[in-house]
Amino acid sequence: MKAVARVVIGLAFAIAAIWAKAHAPDDYDHRYAPLVAYGHVGSPVTVGGFAVKVENVSAARSVTSAEGEIIRPDGVFVIVAASARSLRKPLSLSTAMLRTRDGREFRGSVKGVTIPIGGTLDGVTLGPGLWHHGVLVFEIPPSQLAGSTLLLSDRFPNENDPPSGFPPFGFELTAQANISLGLDDDRARRLVSGASEGITIRGERT
């Protein structure tokens, strides 16, 4: 009887060890993945040292620079109107990306236009207790819009590929807001078909 108990206990330990091994993060990206808070349009998301609320998503077929030049995208401009604030100390939303359903990531930009500091929400310095309202602009192929999510972080991405030097290489253990834009196939189609003309963005042609 005692021998049977020992075998059972031994088996239990072996199963526990196999389970732990199977569920433990086993690569660098997995172990040091960003600390993500999920949200959706209309609800504030608080993560790490900042809070953000996406208020509205629209599309544009062109933007007009401060000099009056009309700039047209290869795809469509997605304009995300949002408010953000820091919780304890000054910071900027240094990284703003749209991640598509198939995992592609589009950095916030307006074709050929350098957005000056303060021109969009990702360029302003946020302070505690003060909500800053602004827009984030992305250029994206219309077919990629459905199912896309907005990613925001206060850390700059590492531009080296493959990464070099010392860690951190990218977004290891950094706070990241992942906000669903609520665009299913039908909504995305309607957003693109209803895209407006001539949204003005402060910037300078490079």
Binding site: R88, K89, P90, T125, G127, P128, G129, L130
Partner: protein, 154 residues
């Protein structure tokens, strides 16, 4: 090996196997943690930081924050570019901070010459009357040891 020996071995080995990697990680964290040495300057007093002397003339609430008027004097040649490596902030009593940006003035152009600098920080109105001005040494290339900072009492 009997059961008791195995149990004792487990009790000894397991804590060591867990504690050693944790100790190593804690050491890495301690070595890379940002440290700061803050010198408190009394109202109207002068603080010395990064080859320059700094004196706050006043911190006054304005419509959307505070305005800070500051005297900066270069103590040597390096002090004529002192603000390149410094960060200007205001802190409230709970430890929240806001960045202060230069509105007018800049580094003194010669050793011993006083430069009048005006800064502005945007912050909530309810803390405008209590915030204290802080100058932090924040070089682009980090230097070993704790970074110095000046905190000016109001």
């Amino acid at each position: 090996m009997n059961g008791r020996t195995a149990t004792v071995a487990l009790i000894v080995v397991l804590p060591i196997a867990v504690a050693l990697p944790l100790r190593e990680q804690l050491g890495y964290y301690q070595a890379h943690r940002a440290r700061e040495t803050v010198a408190v300057v009394p109202p109207g007093g002068i603080g010395y930081l990064n080859h320059a002397s700094w004196r706050v003339r006043d911190v006054r609430p304005i419509r959307d924050g505070v305005r800070i008027r500051l005297d900066e004097t270069a103590l040597d040649e390096k002090g004529t570019t002192a603000s390149l490596d410094t960060q200007f902030l205001v802190y409230d009593q709970s430890g929240r901070s806001w960045s202060a940006t230069t509105v007018s003035g800049g580094d003194s152009i010669a050793t011993g010459l006083v430069s009048h600098v005006t800064l502005r920080a945007e912050l909530p109105a309810d803390v405008a009357g209590q915030v204290e001005f802080v100058v932090r040494y924040r070089p682009l290339k980090p230097v070993p040891g704790p970074a110095p900072a000046l905190r000016f009492r109001r």
